[in-house]
């Protein structure tokens, strides 16, 4: 059951942050008038947050509702870190994507992207609110940093040492195919992270997740529908689309973090971040392989989604596929292992490997070709309905 509280009055700390937020919008080029009558409400679903700590070493104790109830400084620091990373991705994605609004293939896509950007900013507000309201000076400083880091860190503005915290949120989103891949693959990782935090021992964090997850489902749907509409239209060749799948799947898998992660284990011990299926699992967690398990759930979900995307392809077209979880990884145990997109060991020297990557991932030639396709009716038309 969802019973959402919308915060009506802000404390001065957060009010001051809101003013800085307006400056951030101006700095990155996001015109506030695009928001129309959209409001950045702070929403808590206290019912779904639960009253008792659900896992870890504090299991069974009341969930913490205030900073001073949190038993150790190390736990507080870990919670602040989780919230900061989550907030950082929300603002990072807007920085990466807003420039696409001018080149949207249809009004439906422009409005969908704008809605996503509004909601990502709201999620960023939510995280900043929790930092400012529950974590004193430390939280206020971390909330400010959410607006100081930049996905397109610009040396001219002295930002070269202040990129977004996660690599994917510093990558340029150059075109609408990247946008649909990002919302399908990277926002899906976001959904996993939000769900893992929805059972958190820190109740304001857990209560933030329900409303955010409701909104996130639209973001994922936009990505999946976008890819389905592209496949259905049949203008962009499957072989070219596959290269983008290869690029974004490996990025999405990396976002789950290192294997045998001790920080994931501590987060579980503290009850801050659970498993993706924490409430449904019914078996004890393998605390030493928490990231691996989440990554596996994510990977399985991608495979099912790809089956749905493939249903729309034209007769005679090859199937799109999810590349192996070993391919082109930058994080985890497969970092130094060279495999093909099908997961078979790669045979060849360094030069052959570089050539293979060039063949399997989008290169400059592919981007140029893609830009030509963008001049055609490359995506199935859909009308925005109010």
């Amino acid at each position: 059951m969802s019973s959402t509280e919308i915060v009506e009055k802000y404390e001065p700390n957060f009010q001051a942050w809101v003013e800085q937020f307006a400056e951030w919008q101006t700095r990155i080029g996001f015109d506030p008038s695009w928001l129309g009558d959209y409001r950045f409400d702070i929403k808590f679903d206290w019912d779904s947050a639960g009253d008792e700590i659900e896992f870890g070493d504090f299991e069974g104790m009341p969930k913490w509702e205030r900073r001073m109830q949190i038993p150790q400084q190390s736990v507080r620091d870990a919670i602040i870190s989780m919230i900061s990373v989550q907030g950082d991705t929300e603002f990072g994605s807007v920085e990466q994507q807003w420039h696409l609004l001018d080149s949207a293939p249809t009004e439906y896509d422009r409005k969908s992207a704008l809605r996503i950007m509004c909601e990502e900013q709201r999620h960023g507000w939510q995280m900043a609110y929790v930092l400012c309201n529950y974590f004193g000076e430390h939280g206020i400083r971390e909330a400010q940093k959410l607006l100081e880091r930049n996905s397109a860190a610009n040396p001219i503005r002295g930002e070269e040492d202040r990129p977004r915290l996660l690599g994917s949120f510093n990558e340029p989103i150059d075109n609408w195919l990247d946008f649909f891949c990002f919302t399908h693959f990277i926002d899906r990782d976001g959904k996993f992270q939000l769900k893992m935090l929805s059972t958190s021992s820190f109740k304001p964090l857990a209560a933030s997740m329900g409303p955010m997850l409701k909104e996130e489902s639209f973001h994922l749907g936009t990505g999946a529908n976008g890819l389905r509409r592209i496949v259905k239209q049949g203008v962009i060749p499957i072989s070219l689309l596959q290269k983008y799948m290869n690029k974004w799947v490996s990025t999405g898998l990396d976002l789950f973090g290192v294997d045998e992660s001790t920080s994931a284990q501590w987060a579980y011990v503290y009850g801050i971040k659970g498993r993706y299926d924490e409430r449904e699992a019914g078996i004890p967690a393998d605390r030493e392989h928490l990231n691996e398990e989440s990554r596996m759930h994510y990977f399985d979900e991608l495979a099912k989604e790809m089956e749905r995307i493939n249903k729309g392809r034209h007769e005679g077209q090859p199937e799109l596929f999810i590349p192996s979880d070993k391919f082109h990884r930058s994080v985890g145990k497969y970092v130094d292992i060279r495999t093909t997109v099908r997961g078979e060991p790669f045979e060849g020297d360094d030069a052959a490997w570089e050539q293979y990557l060039d063949d399997q991932l989008p290169n400059d030639e592919d981007v140029a070709q893609l830009n030509e396709y963008f001049k055609e009716e490359w995506i199935q038309y859909r009308e925005w309905k109010d």
């Binding site: 969802s2 019973s3 929805s198 997740m209 489902s217 529908n225």
Partner: protein, 207 residues
């Protein structure tokens, strides 16, 4: 549903009752009754939307094939998916319906009062047009009405277009959507109103 004009409708056909019922339903939600439904929304949605009687592929195709400027052919396509006989009314009635479809804005339903008796004689047909042209309006369906009743939202039955009954219907579904936890929100290529309407229909059919 526009309840702000409540005082203007108290003369006939039990409308006062309907308006009172809307307010009662919206203010007196029995959350415990909703819980078992919310726990099963994904499964219920699949049971209805993907049932062979629903032609799910045809539904999803229509989401893309109906857009402005609206045409009679689009009304035909919606009728066909809904399983209706071809319209037997005059061409002018098509135009009247189109004008209403262009002008109406969710969640208003009062504009339905402007329909003549020909167009106003079939709530299900009109709700289909509203749904595919606006998505936020829901298809009027007897099983869905029963599903709402199981959750405590008693919506009177009606074959004729009734702005207040339909207003209560869509508002109740909107409220169910608002109260639903995130686990109900599937990533599916259907509007959220369809997601809940389909789940409610499957729920309403169960004994």
């Amino acid at each position: 549903m526009n309840t702000s004009k409540k005082s203007g409708f108290n003369t006939e056909s039990g409308r006062t009752e309907v308006v009172d019922m809307q307010a009662f339903a919206l203010l007196n939600v029995n959350r415990e009754k909703l819980r078992p439904f919310f726990e099963r929304v994904p499964e219920l949605f699949a049971a209805h939307h993907h049932h062979s009687s629903q032609n799910d592929a045809g539904y999803e195709e229509l989401l893309y094939r109906v857009y402005r400027p609206y045409s009679e052919n689009m009304l035909d396509m919606i009728d066909e998916w809904m399983g209706h006989e071809p319209r037997s009314w005059r061409k002018e009635v098509d135009r009247e319906v189109m004008l209403m479809l262009y002008a109406i804005r969710y969640p208003d339903t009062l504009l339905l009062e402007s329909l003549s008796s020909d167009a106003g004689s079939d709530m299900k047909r009109i709700s289909g047009y509203l749904h595919f042209m606006h998505h936020t309006y829901t298809i009027w369906d007897e099983d869905t009405r029963k599903g709402l009743a199981k959750l405590g939202f008693e919506i009177p039955g009606s074959e004729n277009v009734d702005a207040f009954v339909y207003g209560a219907y869509i508002s109740s579904i909107e409220l169910v959507k608002e109260l639903a936890p995130f686990t109900c929100f599937l990533e599916h290529d259907v509007p959220r109103q369809r997601l809940f309407q389909a789940a409610l229909a499957a729920y309403g059919r169960e004994n």
